[in-house]
């Protein structure tokens, strides 16, 4: 569960004159007062249209929330510090936003935010520049609309690494975040942009030049086409996958499965891998899923893809499982189509060494590939163990693949 803005809401209560929330409406604005949109460069926060007339605000939100106000939230022992820094900022700016955090293991939490109080419905993306004191600082980015702000539950789009794959460095880098990544938010009523410190440790970074763009600015599909693959998850920095979708373990007692992301076992030099600790009994079921679709949103089009690939190893070797995929129909009934036992793709089975599993999507049969919902690791044989998974990706069909497929199909 995402826990956001608890501290901020406490402050809201402090500034309210009595405990009962009062209805305050945003002041109307004439369209002629709204500046024209600017492409590429975007517009500054001060030029963003205000909240629509009649937007419901608690009295505390209205009094506390001033556009551009910068703040944070924390549950001890996690901590944060935020202020406008006149020493470190980008050229042309009078000051940048300084953010410092200390994040301890859950359930303690902390984060920072900047208040928007604006209508972002005409914009496609936000951008800002960021640099760290040491590099490697991390957070999840999210937004609160005027509803989610009241229930302290921001919509998170994922880790900063989703937008800066090499991470924050000590040099200024521009971050572009498509607003569609904040699926489910009412973009016409955005209260704040949230930086949630989800990774344990300490960090200091600066943010400057927050801009709002009508143009999408990012072409993610081009990147996928260029690389020839979609990296669904590397399990490095967030429990959300790299599409910004949710992932979790599933279980029916007495069978159980727990997931975590671990640093000490992984493919490559950096990051983490997925750890699945399972105990499959004779009854019940257990496993792990990661979503391709947005909950109550669009399904994912996997029809341009031909293969599923990931790396796997076991704590002891001999662990077994099967891989499932669910389209919208299978998702509706809460099940998936299985490609078959893992040994079909790893003849020697799971060992303590990393091995790559390659599964042709055709092995899942006739799914509705343009309407896909989830990827599943299902433990189907009684037994317990620990499994590690990393770098889950889908390989795209080339134009040659597509033309051959066309010619071969009658």
């Amino acid at each position: 569960m995402v826990r956001i803005l608890a501290f901020m809401m406490i402050l809201l209560l402090f500034v309210a004159h009595d405990a009962r929330p009062r209805v305050v409406y945003a002041e109307p604005v004439a369209l002629k007062d709204v500046p024209p949109p600017r492409t590429d460069q975007g517009i500054a926060l001060k030029d963003v249209p205000p909240l629509p007339e009649g937007t419901f605000l608690f009295e505390g939100e209205a009094k506390f929330g001033h556009r551009g106000r910068f703040g944070g939230y924390a549950m001890r022992p996690s901590k944060y510090g935020v202020y406008y820094d006149q020493k470190i900022h980008m050229e042309g700016s009078p000051e940048g936003m300084y953010v410092r955090y200390h994040k301890t293991p859950d359930p303690s939490f902390s984060g920072a935010y900047v208040i928007v109080l604006g209508d972002l419905s005409r914009f496609s993306a936000i951008s800002f520049w960021i640099k760290g004191a040491k590099g490697g600082e991390a957070f999840e980015i999210g937004v609160n609309d005027t509803i989610s702000n009241k229930r302290e539950d921001a919509v998170l789009a994922g880790s900063i690494y989703r937008y800066l794959p090499q991470g924050i460095t000590t040099e200024w880098q521009q971050v572009i975040v498509p607003l569609e990544d904040f699926f489910g938010s009412d973009l016409s009523r955005i209260y704040s942009i949230v930086f949630n410190f989800n990774e344990e440790g300490d960090g200091t970074f600066w943010i400057d030049q927050l801009r709002f763009h009508e143009q999408p600015l990012l072409d993610r599909e081009a990147e996928i086409v260029s690389k020839g693959e979609l990296l669904l998850d590397n399990f490095d920095h967030s429990n959300l996958n790299l599409l910004g979708r949710k992932a979790n373990a599933y279980k029916r007692l007495p069978s159980v499965c727990e997931f975590s992301r671990v640093e000490n076992t992984r493919v490559g030099k950096h990051g983490r891998s997925l750890q699945l600790e399972f105990d499959k009994q004779a009854t019940g079921w257990c496993g792990y899923y990661t979503l391709l679709n947005q909950i109550d949103g669009a399904y994912f089009d996997l029809s341009p893809y031909k293969e599923l690939r990931f790396w796997v190893r076991g704590a002891k070797g001999g662990e077994t499982f099967e891989i499932g995929m669910a389209d919208r129909s299978w998702l509706t009934i809460g099940d998936s189509v299985k490609a078959g036992a893992l040994e079909q793709y790893l003849p020697k089975g799971v060992t303590t060494q990393w091995q790559e599993v390659v599964i042709p999507l055709s092995d899942f049969g006739k799914l509705e590939w343009s309407q896909m919902g989830s990827f599943v690791v299902n433990f189907y044989k009684p037994g317990k163990g620990v499994l590690f998974v990393d770098d889950l990706r889908f390989i795209r069909k080339s134009d040659k693949d597509l033309l051959n497929e066309w010619e071969e199909t009658k």
């Binding site: 460069q41 030049q209 143009q215 029809s303």
Partner: protein, 208 residues
């Protein structure tokens, strides 16, 4: 004792102000290019495109450098519309779509009068119609179709040469303020006997 550091400042908005760029608004530009089908994955409005199919009909979309109209590439669409099998034994359906909406944000085309595209067939005589969907049609997964493409071409039909099709937006009874997608539709009614197979090329899809 709370040890969190908290420093609030009344904001100087200038902190966010950056140099202003050239004032442009696609919403009021004379032409809004939706896709020129050059390299890149998404359309010019940043959205995805693909074929839509219901078996046994099928379609294939790839970008090709073969005789592109403008720039280096055009869209090549292969279609195979069947007249039997599939739902209601009507042969299924096939076509191509490009999304205009971004998340829940629809495309406002109220400033435009027509939808234009350059088209040609591999052999000549191929056929399709153009579909346009607004919020309502998007929710039901369908679109309002134009007449066959030949009606909007100078020669009255698809040939093996590039021609510019101009489709008045008044053709489509949809809410222009909330457009969701454009489709190239290979409907059974466009082909003798309800089935047709061929290859068409499309380039420079725009609102004007």
């Amino acid at each position: 004792m709370r040890r969190s550091l908290l420093v609030f400042r009344a904001l100087a908005m200038a902190g966010f102000v950056a140099t202003h760029g050239l004032l442009l608004s696609t919403a009021f530009a004379a032409t809004a290019v939706i896709d020129d089908f050059e390299d890149g994955g998404s359309s010019k409005v940043g959205q995805r495109s693909n074929t839509y199919i219901m078996a046994p009909s099928r379609a294939l979309a790839v970008k090709t450098a073969e005789g592109a109209h403008g720039g280096a590439k055009a869209l090549m669409l292969k279609y195979d519309k069947k007249d039997k099998g599939g739902p209601y034994d009507s042969g299924g359906w096939c076509g191509y779509y490009t999304l205009l909406k971004t998340g829940s944000r629809y495309f406002d085309a109220t400033g435009y009068k027509s939808l234009t595209l350059w088209v040609k067939g591999a052999a000549g005589g191929e056929n399709f119609s153009v579909g346009l969907s607004d919020r309502h049609w998007d929710e039901v997964g369908d679109s309002v179709k134009s007449e066959e493409i030949g009606k909007y071409l100078p020669s009255g039909k698809l040939t093996a040469e590039w021609q510019r099709a101009t489709i008045p937006l008044s053709t489509f009874m949809v809410e222009m303020k909330e457009l969701a997608s454009i489709a190239i539709c290979f409907e059974g009614s466009l082909f003798p006997g309800g089935s047709g197979k061929g290859t068409v090329y499309v380039d420079d899809l725009s609102f004007e």
